[in-house]
């Protein structure tokens, strides 16, 4: 049964790999991911064996796993109706009919077949040549989009290129410490998530910071573009198909991530689960993958492997968010029941990319990636040498958390409870490590005034007040200035960060920077500059950009604004990602 093969589909299903003439031998100094390809089959086998083992312990569990997979896959495939459906729908329909009559051995074989297919689909690839290419080429290409006249220069290997990118992205935080810890420990990066650019930006930030590349899961929808797919696939990304709801598939994903961490591959995942629709800092986390990291730690300890594991909270802070307009619309539309996958947003449209990069040209610090201080799997801070610290700063043995009456043991429910504690720590750390940008400050002042003028209205009613609230330049500068100063006081207390570029700027500069960033990229005007006055034109966009400030709203408000600030704080309680 030869299919008519669509070449695009071939690349997205079986991503292209470069052939090798001689076998690749990594150097001892290379980061762990350089060894990944040699260990790949072994990792996949390990994942399959452990997932199958978990579901075949007894007959009811085995039947549940098969029924669950058949039910969810029949639903998904009949809806998809594509080539994949043609290949596999029949199998699952047959399975659903036969389960009751199958022998235990047949059932086990069927489950193994399903799990094997999932595990092979998930596993990534890492090609050091592609990594080298990407890390030299991508910053130069981005620079090229921004400064077309500099492109020929940037492409010369001697140009030292990509200066513009270095200006654009600022990488800050506990870099020195992380470079030290990654040598003997395993790092799990857990960043905030606002844009599909995040994984690209973060990959570049790791490189700029002198840290090893990390393995991460990327949505299968990102693999449909053959070029992006080629890079993603060969840079160690594993594929996550969010349409598959079968329990066995989720187990494969978690186990894959767990096995990678057990074997010491630095990893990355977004605990928010999806891009923050509202631009609120993540305050409710999806802890599935964090849980598998904690389990990886206990599994290693039980086997006597005492490599340490560190979670690194990272905040990615944009002056301008590529997909901002679509995301906030989505948040409002479904009030927290956001569509999980958005197709055809700004990320997939080249004209929006060009407009985006043109806008942030020369804007130094338009994106700040801040690596927070690492914590151990139980939320404790660690010292310079990576040793866990108890309250009061006394070093303690991190292995003690998995001991039960003196013996290290594995206990999935215990680890789930630890993970929940860890999640609470990460949420606090995101606040402390978030970097507030000019657009957030200006949006907050404007939106707060809209709230004041529409006191007691519900959110949707309020958002219809377009272009009705104006500020004299003078009053706006005054409020932005006092907001900045209050945030700096919070910054001194270690509660939040203010972007370096606006720390010492005049309020007038901050306002101009925000207005010029918004206008001309977003298709809707966030705020209109009318010379002597600034009008809050689109409360929806202002809401989006000010949402980063929600946790601090009440503490930075004047007496006149306290009521409005309280209404703004309620946004977080309202929930929604």
């Amino acid at each position: 049964m030869l299919e008519k093969l669509n070449p695009l589909r071939v690349y997205s299903e079986r991503p292209l790999r470069l052939p090798r003439l001689r076998p690749f031998v990594p150097k001892a100094s290379d980061p762990p991911v350089y060894y990944f390809n040699a260990a790949r089959d072994d990792i996949v086998e390990d994942v399959i064996a452990r997932v199958v083992g978990r579901h075949t312990a007894d007959r009811p569990r085995l039947e549940l796993a098969l029924n669950d997979a058949a039910y969810h896959e029949i639903r998904r495939l009949s809806r998809q109706g594509d080539i994949e459906a043609k290949e596999h729908l029949g199998f699952f329909k047959g399975l659903a009919r036969r389960i009751a009559r199958m022998s235990d051995a047949d059932k086990r074989d069927a489950l193994r077949l399903i799990v094997t297919r999932y595990a092979r689909d998930v596993a990534g690839n890492f090609d050091p040549r592609v990594y080298d290419l990407a890390r030299h080429l991508i910053p130069r290409l981005i620079t090229g989009v921004m400064h077309p006249s500099r492109l020929p220069m940037e492409l010369l290997p001697s140009a030292g290129g990509a200066r513009a990118v270095h200006e654009l992205l600022r990488v800050e935080g506990a870099l020195e410490k992380l470079r030290r810890l990654e040598k003997d420990g395993t790092l799990v990066y857990v960043p905030t998530h606002s844009s599909n650019l995040d994984s690209i930006v973060l990959g570049h930030a790791l490189e700029q910071a002198g840290l090893s590349p990390a393995s991460y899961g990327a949505g299968k929808n990102l693999f449909t573009n053959p070029i992006i797919s080629f890079f993603m696939h060969n840079l160690g990304a594993y594929r996550v198909d969010r349409r598959i709801a079968a329990r066995a598939y989720k187990d494969v994903l978690k186990m894959y991530s767990q096995v990678m961490i057990e074997r010491g591959y630095h990893s990355l995942f977004f605990p928010g689960g999806t891009r923050s629709r509202s631009n609120l800092l993540e305050h409710r986390l999806k802890l599935g993958l964090a849980g598998s990291a904690v389990q990886a730690f206990s599994h290693n300890r039980v086997r006597g492997v005492d490599r340490n594991l560190y979670f690194v909270p990272v905040t990615i802070n944009y002056e301008l968010v590529l997909e901002g307009e679509t995301l906030i619309e989505d948040w409002l539309k479904s009030e927290g029941k956001a569509r999980y996958i958005i197709e055809n947003d700004e990320f997939s449209r080249l004209d929006r990319w060009v407009a985006f990069f043109r806008k942030i040209v020369g804007l130094s610090g338009a994106c700040v990636i801040r690596f927070g201080d690492p914590v151990d799997p139980f939320g404790n801070p660690v010292d310079e040498a990576g040793c866990s610290l108890a309250p009061g700063g006394r070093p303690i043995d991190v292995g003690s958390y998995v001991l039960r009456r003196g013996q290290p043991v594995e206990d999935a429910r215990r680890d789930a409870a630890y993970t929940r504690d860890l999640g609470e720590v990460l949420v606090r750390r995101y606040r402390e490590e978030s970097v507030l940008m000019a657009t957030s400050l200006v949006a907050h002042v404007l939106y707060r005034r809209v709230v004041r003028e529409t006191a007691g209205f519900d959110l949707f009613h309020r958002l219809r007040h377009r272009g009705e609230v104006s500020f004299s330049r003078e009053a706006l500068h005054g409020e932005v200035g006092s907001l900045r100063d209050r945030l700096r006081t919070l910054e001194d207390a270690g509660e939040v960060r203010v972007n370096h570029d606006i720390r010492a700027r005049s309020p007038a500069d901050i306002v101009d920077r925000a207005l010029s960033v918004w206008n001309g990229y977003h298709r809707r005007t966030a705020a209109r500059d009318e010379g002597a006055e600034v009008t809050a034109e689109d409360p929806t966009l202002l809401l989006y950009y000010q949402n980063r400030l929600v946790p601090f709203a009440e503490r930075v408000a004047d007496a006149d604004d306290v009521a409005a600030a309280r209404e703004i704080s309620a946004l977080e309680i309202r929930g929604a990602t």
Binding site: N380, A390, P391, S400, R405, G406, R414, Y418
Partner: protein, 193 residues
């Protein structure tokens, strides 16, 4: 889990402290009671005035008035690590944030495996071994099991099950703390509870 005895520590020499120590001794566990002042102790219970000695225990019961828990647990915490299980009998909301004692213990000590012991718990009944029951609220099933092993003795009927409302259940006063696991420890001397 049962078999090897549990090393039980009790902080507080008041009615509950003595009752818990007596119950643990009756369950044939090694018991060490810490108190600021000299006390007359139930049989089989060791005593100490040194918090560091409690580091040898598997599980520690805090039975001091809730106002003292912060200072005491901060000092106690300097002797403990992640392997210790803490269970508080004291209750109430503490601090400006009105946190539960379970939350407090997770910030003043390195311990994460924390539980609250509550229920129709009567100090005299613990001492005398009269029929009595208790529940443990914790995120960690193993904490509930350990408490049962620590204070439930032969002739005690004990149950451990997930509450019917599962992990969604909340203690009415606790705000964000969840109490998914409940262990009942009920005495049945002679007749079922």
């Amino acid at each position: 889990m049962s078999g090897a005895s549990v090393r039980v520590g009790v902080l507080g020499g008041g009615g509950f402290g003595q009752g818990l120590a007596a119950a643990a001794a009756r369950a044939r566990n090694d018991v060490l009671l810490w108190s600021r002042s000299e006390r007359e102790l139930p049989g089989g219970v060791g005593s100490t005035r040194d918090l560091a000695a409690l580091a040898e225990c598997d599980v520690l019961f805090l039975a001091v008035p809730s106002g003292y828990v912060e200072a005491l647990s901060t000092e106690l915490g300097t002797h403990l690590d992640g392997s210790h299980v803490l269970v508080h009998v004291s209750r109430g909301l503490v601090g400006a944030q009105l946190g539960t004692l379970s939350q407090l213990l997770r910030t003043t000590t390195p311990c994460r495996r924390v539980g609250a012991l509550a229920g129709p718990l009567i100090a005299e009944a613990l001492v005398s071994g009269a029929p009595s029951g208790a529940v443990v609220g914790t995120r960690f099933p193993e904490v509930a099991n350990l408490v049962r092993d620590a204070i439930a003795s032969e002739g005690f009927a004990s149950t451990s099950r997930r509450t019917s409302s599962g992990s969604r259940s909340r203690a009415p006063s606790s705000g964000s703390s969840r109490w998914p696991w409940v262990t009942g420890v009920a005495s049945a001397r002679g007749r079922p509870p």
